[in-house]
Symmetry: C2
């Protein structure tokens, strides 16, 4: 059964600065929790100690992947300003540090409009309708549990990797929806920026591409409905790759941006 | 006199995890220290507690700009792995927190080559030779002390803002050199990604564009010589703007990437 995103990222207050949460086994890839999903849990902890409601930046270092199950969160307000709250948040499982994050919260205006928009950063028609759904098993046979929770539809010309024919452009474009329902918000956008397969799959398939660092910016409150996502890799060197992710809501408004550095073994 | 970058980012060990440093008045804009310069000081502190030499990711939240003068650094090794060390580092001035950062260090191979390169992410001939030097005073009269330390040459078609004629593309392209000499390295690349004027100047001039969050990735060891920089803004909304910066060395190899979210007041 697809889960409600708010439920699988819920945090329970233990004291002024500490929270309990549960990493859901459904939000994993080959048994390992998705990095954006973990960042969303940390974002919820940060929001719980902030006078400001919306995460606008979240930057995380991934130390060790937690097992599905209980985790604890520690938070520290670094600065409580008039227009923003700056928070440090860490996730542990038992005594082991798993994720460490820096998060800024503010208040996003639902009526805001762009003051300037430079347009899409990559090629591709954002209104593409030939999208085909991504299957829940990767070419190598890795089971992707998270595909039962989300609906990913990739544009037909970027889905070649799933049949062993990557385009070589290093770019994936498509749509994302949460199967458990619920509209996107600043917390679930922290997951959205890491929800797609690695854009390196469009270059060469590699089974596990663990995120080392992920930084996300939430730029506006998204309209209800699926979000449009473009991810692009610029360089693979020294067994590391970058990936830039841009997210638009179904009105075509840019709502989130992210960059990550991940590890990869090719060849 | 232009200063040596290693000297103005030097840290002095106080104990196992704490360091002293001095924020140099020369590396300021309108009296406020450059954000990339502060991150470079934190990177040096992190490297001093790491078994790995090279910063590969550094992500910072800016809480308050320190005054030029003494600051203290606290570091904490979050994970010391075989291939990477993950560090938390903070900068304070007196009791005030100024910058909080998460830093990953590893060992970059001077002989490495790209395994895949997607090419330049933005338009513009990287070998442009019509670059013109940027002057040390902004249109509004703000004195930019840092311009005595660095040589910034912007491509002729992106320097219109300095004469009140921004192109409207939100993109700056040019070359950067440290006047005090010294080649670029992973520490000074943390400065390089924030060395250019805000790319929003190419849209509309705004006096002070303070960085809220800056994340930099160092992808390779740069060759000796100046670096080529392209910065681009994608969205200005809610008085905040993003800026993506890409840095190539003089061989044309991508050596650093960064993204930042900054505050801006237009109009």
């Amino acid at each position: 059964m697809p889960a409600d995103f708010a439920a699988v990222t819920a945090v329970t207050r233990r004291d002024d600065t500490t929270f309990d949460a549960v990493v859901d086994p459904g939000w994993t890839i080959g048994g390992r929790p998705n990095g954006g999903y973990l960042l969303a849990i940390l974002g919820r902890g940060a929001a719980a100690v902030s006078a400001h409601e919306h995460v606008i930046t979240a930057s995380a270092q991934y130390l060790r992947p937690p097992e599905p199950g209980p985790v604890s969160l520690t938070t520290e307000v670094l600065r409580a300003g008039r227009s923003a709250t700056q928070v440090r948040a860490g996730m542990r499982q038992g005594a082991e540090r798993c994720v460490e994050a820096l998060i800024i919260l503010s208040t996003l205006d639902p009526e805001s409009d762009p003051q300037w928009d430079g347009g899409a950063p990559v090629a591709g028609d954002l209104a593409d309708t030939r999208a085909v759904p991504l299957q829940p098993v990767l070419p190598g046979g890795t089971e992707v549990a998270i595909m039962e929770q989300i609906d990913v539809r990739l544009d037909a010309d970027t889905i070649g990797f799933s049949a062993g024919r990557p385009s070589g452009r290093g770019e994936l474009r498509g749509w994302l929806e949460l199967r458990g329902g619920g509209s996107f918000d600043p917390i679930s956008l922290l997951f959205a920026v890491d929800a797609f397969p690695p854009s390196s799959f469009d270059i060469e398939f590699a089974g596990w591409v663990p995120t080392l660092e992920l930084t996300a910016y939430v730029r506006a409150l998204p309209a209800a409905g699926p979000v449009r996502i473009v991810t692009r890799t610029q360089l693979i060197e020294g067994q590391r790759l970058d990936e830039v992710c841009t997210v638009w809501d179904c009105r075509g408004r840019l709502v989130a941006q992210a960059t990550q550095l991940a590890a990869i073994r090719l060849g």
